[in-house]
């Protein structure tokens, strides 16, 4: 099962729905691009993949009538509802006698509400990458270059945070999850100046772990700061 927090939350939601509606036999969610997000304990991966493959075939052939929004199958011993919710699809297999209004509640009220809540939560967290207050050290000389230097630990920490947000974003939008490398930072002074700089790891061992940012002199001049000043630094995402 997908260990992403978003997927775990949805898995919990499906579990609770099953408890509330015992007529639900199988349920799982997948993105519009065909990635399975999560499913209940009773539905094995092979079954999910088989159903997914059938759905993809149906979706392709149904283009003659438009974009596929839902598929309902009534069998002698059960029924299946596959419906589009936001950018995902919910598969719900139920007993034959499950009330239509209950199915409608799950597909049109309960799950959309949960998804909307999770989306709002995820987007809020996507907006605010961690800002660090770092002490300025100046880089001077011929080889100072244009890049600033920051502790490797800080760069790694930022990368971890963007990874989990990127995974959630990928699940929400159905887009491919591409790991972002932090190669630029925004530096803001408390005086209101700011600039964008390339960033790399601090190469001076004696300065590691001291919450410092090494900034080329010419950039310091632009920002009107000097050695020992405090600046706000955040990764560019």
């Amino acid at each position: 099962m997908n260990r992403d927090p978003y997927a775990i939350a949805l898995n919990n939601a499906l579990t609770e729905i099953k408890k509330a509606y015992p007529d639900v036999k199988n349920s799982f969610l997948f993105t519009k691009n065909g990635t399975i997000i999560t499913g209940d304990q009773e539905t094995d991966t092979k079954t999910m993949n088989n159903i997914l493959a059938s759905f993809q075939t149906m979706k392709e052939k149904a283009k003659v009538i438009g974009n596929l929004k839902s598929l309902h199958i009534n069998g002698k011993n059960g029924k299946l509802t596959l419906s589009n919710i936001n950018d995902m699809y919910l598969v719900l297999a139920t007993s034959k006698n499950m009330d239509k209004t209950h199915i409608y509640s799950i597909t049109h009220v309960i799950l959309p509400t949960i998804l909307k809540t999770l989306e709002t939560f995820a987007h809020t967290h996507l907006q605010f990458p961690s800002t660090k207050n770092l002490v300025v050290d100046t880089l001077s000389g011929f080889f100072a270059g244009d890049s600033v230097q920051i502790d490797a630990e800080i760069l790694v920490d930022w990368t971890k945070n963007t990874d989990s947000r990127a995974r959630m974003k990928a699940v929400l939008t159905g887009e491919q999850n591409t790991q972002e490398i932090i190669d630029h930072v925004r530096i803001e002074t408390f005086g209101g100046n700011s600039t964008l700089c390339k960033v790399k790891e601090i190469n001076d061992q004696t300065l590691k772990g001291k919450n410092m940012i090494r900034i080329p002199e010419k950039v310091c001049n632009t920002l009107e700061i000097k050695k020992g000043d405090l600046v706000k630094v955040k990764p560019l995402l």
Binding site: K25, N26, T47, N50, I51, S54, F55, T57, M58, K61, A62, V64, I65, G66, N67, L68, K69, S70, L71, H72, I73, N74, G75, K76, N77, G78, K79, L80, A93
Partner: protein
């Protein structure tokens, strides 16, 4: 022999009754057309004849997908399959060895049509 002839007569009667019902239904508001397949023949009546092949493929796919999914989930034989897009839907059903697919606008009450045809 006699039994066989009787069975053949029953099948022909069913097909005739089905055709009568379909003739009534196809002129109702919102009905786009139908495809009716039996082991030995097919009957197609669509308002837009340029889409016959695509609609026939969709109809066939709906039955195949219905069979695959009901088998995967042990849901028994397929009764009906309803495929919906933004504005159109397809009702597919098995009636006495006939595969019927009815294409209609989304606003049409397909449950009512199912009861009428069954």
């Amino acid at each position: 022999m006699l039994v066989k002839k009787s069975e053949t007569n029953d099948t022909e009667n069913d097909a005739e009754k089905m055709q009568e019902k379909l003739q009534e239904i196809k002129d109702q508001e919102g009905i786009i057309g139908y495809i009716l397949r039996s082991p030995k023949s097919a009957s197609i009546d669509l308002k837009d004849p340029t889409k016959i092949i695509e609609y026939a493929i969709l109809s066939s796919t709906a039955f195949d997908v219905g069979h695959d999914i009901t088998e995967a989930l042990q849901m028994g034989e397929v009764d009906t399959i309803v495929v919906e897009s933004e504005e159109t839907k397809l009702l597919s059903m098995n009636i006495n060895n006939h595969h019927l697919s009815l294409f209609m606008e989304k606003s049409v009450d397909h449950d009512k049509l199912y009861k009428k045809l069954k």
